[in-house]
């Protein structure tokens, strides 16, 4: 028997409090309510996902044929640069921040984040950064075209000679996004450490909260170093300093260190909340506690810690000394241990449970499967001799897209479907959800699997044309990409249609255990009538224990 008292799992609820359709104006305002801000992040992120996705469609269109025949090469280079930039800084980071924003206060029994106004300021910096990036298409010389890494000396080459050029705008946009993230990190860490409800010790927090905390700690030590490198690059570009320009005595490899010192841990910032979402969803749809909760929680901190000392695996062929390559090979392989702990824990959670396959579970399970594949290719990449061959080829692109699309994006959709009823007070259409899932799962495999043989055969990444023998796999990949594009349609239909319909969703349609499921759908403005007192561990499925004190 589930341990929450029956009245909290109301399938037959009295009319929940939901805001009438005219309330949409709140979402365009400077609101300090974390729930509004959360949704603002999520919707903004999705729009940018579509923008980045359109860029991808053009790229894959070009790659159907070996020759460069669809767009000019400089356009192609701009598109892959902006695809990466928009997808990372406009889709993954904002949507994860959005979910963290929405859920963390609810999950820990707080009324809002520690610094609500800072929260709002941090959000509004995102549309500004995004607009800057879009505007860069219209300046002479076009947007940044040096890849989302902006390695010098290519990124310093400024063909127009103008001060205001695409690369400068790119650096400013990324800087704004970075400041926004640091503000968010300060907010999340303070909130989680200081504002948990009485009785919620650290080892009674949901894993999603553990993972947000670990991820935001990474942001705090990593982003500043990227900022340092970006400031130096910007100065080189605008004022003529010589930090990274070899012609003037600078060191371009040092930039790579600055860049990857953040950007590698950044991928754990992205994946940790997704892991948190898996840890929330699997127990619900298996009706079993999370296996090994304490170890899973600690593994999140371990991942955050180890992630800080692996970055040189992006520089194996950059001219790093042997001792450095081998040290970082070892640390990189080590990060697979706490990650593996999580994968095994989820598998054990699912094993022997009473499984149901609603859309959130389908996406979470599909994402887990794709993650295991990505993790294995990741381990191959950590080996220096292997990476020497496949670095900068499509093998790497395939690996990280299995993570970023297969795990992160599909994990995000799992979260959207899972918490949609809570956030909107409506239920989505299950049929459309399942269609979205299958199109995504098949499309992702078609699109990204072929990249592995391509990379092994030596096809480089970032190329606007390629040798004819690579054509077949490229065509398959492009078909997969178009399928992914199509898969978004049932999702959009579902979201708009469900949000607009009048059928209210129950307080807890999944019969899940957690503080957010104790309140109405959507939650009242102040979250809780009375702050709950936590007396139980999370994920208490099958146990007859109360989560909160009965008053």
């Amino acid at each position: 028997m589930t341990n929450i008292s029956v009245k909290d799992i109301s399938n037959t609820s009295k009319t929940p409090e939901y805001h009438p359709a005219t309330d949409w104006k709140r979402y365009f305002s400077f609101s300090t309510d974390h729930k509004v801000i959360g949704i603002q992040y999520i919707v903004t992120a999705f729009i940018l996902f579509l923008v980045g996705g359109i860029f991808a469609m053009i790229l894959r269109g070009e790659l159907i044929t070996p020759e460069s025949d669809l767009v000019d090469r400089s356009v192609y280079n701009a598109l892959f640069t902006m695809h990466g930039t928009v997808m990372l800084f406009g889709w993954t980071f904002p949507i994860l921040t959005g979910f963290a924003n929405y859920l963390v206060p609810l999950m820990i029994g707080a009324r809002d984040m520690a610094f609500p106004r800072l929260n709002a300021v941090a959000f509004w910096m995102i549309p500004i950064a995004a607009l800057l990036l879009m505007a860069s298409f219209f300046v002479p010389g076009g947007p940044a075209q040096a890849g989302w890494w902006s390695y010098p000396p290519v990124s310093l080459q400024n063909p127009t000679g103008n001060l205001i050029n695409g690369q400068v705008i790119w650096l400013l946009a990324v800087a704004i996004s970075g400041v926004s993230s640091i503000m968010g990190a300060i907010n999340f860490v303070t909130t989680i450490v200081k504002m948990r409800a009485p009785g919620m010790t650290f080892f009674r927090m949901p894993i999603f909260v553990w993972n947000v905390m670990s991820a935001q700690i990474i942001q705090l030590f990593g982003l500043p170093v990227l900022t340092a490198g970006a400031v130096m690059l910007l100065l080189d570009l605008t004022v003529g300093t010589s930090f990274f320009d070899p012609a003037k005595g600078g060191d371009p490899v040092l930039f790579q260190h600055f860049f990857w010192f953040y950007s590698h841990p950044a991928v754990y910032v992205i994946i940790l909340p997704v892991f948190g979402i898996f840890s929330e969803i699997f127990p619900v749809f298996a009706r079993k506690p999370l296996f090994g909760y304490k170890i899973v929680a600690i593994s999140s901190l371990l991942i955050a810690g180890v992630s800080a000392i692996v970055w040189v695996h992006h520089l194996y062929v950059s001219g790093t000394p042997a001792w450095m390559r081998l040290f970082f090979m070892l640390t990189t392989m080590f990060v697979s241990v706490p990650t593996g702990i999580k994968v095994f824990a989820w598998t054990a959670t699912i094993w022997g449970g009473k499984l149901r396959f609603d859309t959130p579970m389908l996406f979470a399970l599909g994402a887990l499967i794709l993650f295991v594949f990505a993790g294995i290719t990741g381990i191959t990449l950590s080996s220096v001799p292997i990476d020497v061959h496949v670095n900068n080829t499509y093998y790497v692109v395939g690996h990280f897209h299995y993570v970023l699309y297969g795990t992160v994006t599909m994990g995000m959709f799992a979260a959207i479907y899972f918490w949609f009823p809570k956030m909107t007070g409506r239920m989505y259409y299950e049929g459309l959800g399942k269609l979205h899932f299958w199109l995504s799962f098949i499309g992702a495999n078609l699109n990204f699997f072929p990249m592995h043989p391509l990379g092994l055969q030596g096809m480089l990444r970032r190329v606007s044309s390629y040798a004819p023998e690579y054509e077949m796999w490229n065509i398959i990949a492009s078909i997969g990409a178009f399928m992914l594009g199509v898969s978004i349609l049932p999702f959009i239909l579902n979201m708009i249609g469900s949000w607009m319909n009048d059928k209210p969703a129950p307080k807890n349609p999944w019969r899940a255990i957690g503080l957010e499921w104790l309140v109405s759908s959507p939650p009242p403005v102040e979250n809780f009538e009375e702050i709950p007192v936590v007396v139980g561990e999370p994920y208490g499925y099958g146990k007859s224990e109360a989560l909160v004190e009965n008053r």
Binding site: A110, A114, F115, I182, A185, I186, N187, V189, T190, V193, K194, M195, A197, P198, G199, T201, L220, F221, G222, L223, P224, V225, T227, A228, G229, V231, M232, L235, V239, G240, T241, S242, F243, K248, G249, G250, D251, L254, F258, F261, E530, I531, V533, V535, G536, E537, E545, E549
Partner: protein
């Protein structure tokens, strides 16, 4: 499963759980300063790497940096940390007069430092774009200088607010954060001084 917190203890503390807003703000501010430390660490690392890997580290015509005046500046800046600490203590004693005096002194010392830095800059024979050395020197001292300026502005604001009646009813977050920031700026400078001036 057992709970190490009894229901009694939980109930006794409050009816409605109020959050320690002052405590939260201070916690957040400390987290912010820890993060800021990493920007400086990034620049320090860059400086060290450039210095140790460049055979032609100093630009032509430059044999080194003068230490005397920067050393005096250092003493002044570090002492101002003591002064602002005394100001904080005075405020705790509710001695507003002394508080404002010490605060003004600290502001003056900080300003002396900045002016001294500007004078040093104007006498240097190399510029921002004079090789990696010039770039790192001005970047480090300039970025630090910006922080000193920010610290001075914060102290001015704190000074101004000390005239508002009831300003300290909710606590001393303003002065506490400002003085912590000022100590932070000092520690960064000490490291900078060693890196740039002593280790030549």
């Amino acid at each position: 499963m057992d709970s190490s917190i009894t229901s009694e203890e939980l109930h006794s503390s409050r009816h409605e759980h109020t959050h320690d807003e002052e405590g939260n703000k201070m916690f957040g501010f400390i987290v912010f300063l820890l993060s800021e430390t990493f920007i400086f660490l990034g620049f320090f690392t860059g400086y060290i790497v450039y210095k140790t890997t460049n055979p032609d580290w100093l630009p032509p015509g430059v044999s080194g940096l003068e230490i005397k005046d920067p050393a005096i500046n250092t003493v002044v800046l570090v002492s101002s940390s003591l002064v602002i600490y005394l100001a904080e203590r005075a405020l705790l004693r509710h001695d507003l007069m002394k508080f404002r005096q010490f605060l003004l002194l600290s502001i003056a010392m900080g300003t002396y430092f900045l002016v001294g830095q500007a004078i040093e800059w104007s006498h240097l024979s190399f510029g921002f774009t004079t090789g990696v050395f010039g770039g790192m020197f001005y970047l480090l001292t300039g970025f630090h200088g910006l922080h000193v300026l920010t610290g001075i502005l914060l102290q001015i604001i704190v000074f101004g607010r000390s005239f508002i009646p009831g300003n300290y009813d909710t606590g001393h977050f303003g002065i506490n954060a400002t003085s912590l920031f000022w100590h932070f700026v000092d520690v960064i400078w000490i490291v900078l001084f060693f890196l740039i001036y002593i280790w030549q």
